[in-house]
């Protein structure tokens, strides 16, 4: 952990806070709950008590703003900087600002930043903590989506805040007090936001049951999805990525979150339209577009946007043919052809896979185009196909790309 130079801290135990305005991304009650919960995290490990006030100057003033917003640190639009806060002191000291150009949410899914997690981090600054270089610490500078139910403050953050304020006096600190609810005097009326219907939270695998990465040359190795990306080839399974590149000889082992932290693990399909430097990832009935490390704004989108009927709830595999500008989507024993130029599904589809791809008599887990040939993966095997003659050339192990 770290503190600010000269370790500024509040010289009292009763600290006030005030919520100046709201984000239209969330219900106001959810904003208030997220912030109260964030204060509770810090009061539970220190003698500090936080009280919400509704008018005049509070020690910690909380607001949402975008771009230039009256201090010397303008926000930067979606992504990048999410929020900032000032160390304890008068006036702007202690204040926390949240970038309204972000999408704020009470969930820990991929469409938005969890306000409780970001607020808890920023309030750490408002109390006098600087950044920690301990990966996993709350005061680590980079946003990491994580389970927030029963969120426990990591030890590094407890050590840091107790170095400033000591331990709580009595049994776990009093819950954050609020004055008896009164009509707050000023509210920037945020348009009522219809809260996103709660999506089933992706089952977060806790570290204890995180599946282990299979060995590169495991003869049973199979993949969820495969795509090219700027001349490289990425193989996905669960949260793991195998990266094969012409720029370095060995296979690089990564995780999805190391490239795209806000994407969940377990893709169903992926493909690149390399004339557009764009890769699409599919999971359940949604898809994302990425350009390098950046997720294009406005995603995820429902796969029905591509022309799938609502009866299709997920796809098995996808591959783009650079020669014909068509993308093939595989679902069960059928496949669709999507015209990337017109951005629409072609007529006469779906068709049976077996009818057009001789030798591919089963479902397809993943698909790849490399050097003009197509590779269809099914379990631990892959089938090399010449798409022009639609002839099966040979069958190999799925991991034959890993120089086994």
């Amino acid at each position: 952990y770290s503190t600010f130079p000269l370790s500024p801290k509040w010289k009292k135990e009763d600290v006030t806070y005030r919520i100046l305005n709201y984000t239209p991304d969330m219900l106001q009650a959810d904003v208030e709950e997220a912030i109260a919960k964030a204060f509770q995290l810090w009061s539970s490990v220190t003698p500090l008590r936080f009280t919400r006030v509704y008018s005049d100057q509070a020690d910690i003033m909380i607001s949402f703003a975008s771009g230039f917003h009256g201090d010397f640190y303008p926000f930067d639009g979606p992504g990048g900087t999410l929020a900032h806060a000032y160390p304890p002191g008068s006036n702007i000291g202690g204040d926390a600002h949240f970038d309204e150009d972000e999408t704020w949410t009470k969930f820990t899914t991929y469409n938005g930043y969890n306000l409780f997690l970001v607020a808890a981090h920023e309030l750490g600054h408002s109390l006098g903590l600087g950044h920690s270089n301990v990966l996993g610490a709350l005061m680590y500078p980079i946003y990491m989506a994580r389970e927030t139910r029963d969120y426990k403050l990591p030890q590094d953050d407890i050590d840091g805040i107790q170095a400033l304020y000591g331990r709580p006096k009595e049994s776990p600190a009093l819950p954050t007090k609020a004055f008896p609810p009164q009509e707050p005097t000023e509210m920037t009326p945020a348009e009522t936001t219809t809260e996103m219907p709660p999506r089933e939270e992706p089952t977060e695998t806790t570290p204890s049951n995180t599946p282990v990465r299979p060995q590169d040359c495991d003869p049973h190795l199979n993949f969820d999805a495969i795509t090219t990306l700027r001349g490289e080839t990425l193989f996905f399974k669960g949260s793991y990525v195998w990266r094969k590149s012409p720029y370095f000889s060995d296979i690089e082992h990564d995780t999805i979150s190391s490239f795209w932290p806000s994407l969940v693990a377990g893709f169903d399909a992926a493909y690149e339209v390399d004339k557009r430097d764009r890769v699409l990832f599919f999971k359940d009935n949604h898809y994302w577009a990425v350009r390098g490390y950046s997720i294009e704004p406005g995603f995820p989108k429902p796969i029905q946007n591509l022309g799938f009927p609502t009866s299709v709830r997920k796809i098995d595999a996808a591959v783009h043919d650079e020669n014909t500008k068509k993308t093939y989507f595989f679902v069960g024993n059928k496949y669709w052809s999507f015209n990337e130029n017109t951005q629409s599904m072609e007529r006469g589809y779906p068709r049976k896979i077996a009818a057009d791809f001789h030798g591919i008599g089963h479902t397809v887990d993943a698909a790849l185009q490399k050097n003009g040939l197509f590779y269809f993966f099914h379990g631990a095997n892959q089938y090399e196909v010449d798409i022009k003659s639609k002839k099966l050339i040979r069958k190999m192990k799925s991991n034959s790309w890993f120089n086994c």
């Binding site: 900087t81 999410l82 970038d99 950044h131 500078p141 946003y143």
Partner: protein
Amino acid sequence: FPVLPEKEKEEMQFAKKYLENFYGFKEEKSSLLKWKNLNPMADKIREMQSFFGLEVTGELNHKTLAMMKQPRCGMPDIRS
């Protein structure tokens, strides 16, 4: 990932801004100072790589750039 050629300069600009915001990087204006410290940006890149536990090379490689592009808090990482 390989950087598309025309993006190279853009990435360098982005990295400079990042190091200014979070690591107190200041581009040397006077040529004398520039001569003294050939590449002040490399020092700041090393400082950032060390903070995040990356391999400390002083070069703006893809992992370093990827780390810079992660959504984050707007406060500096070094005490300033």
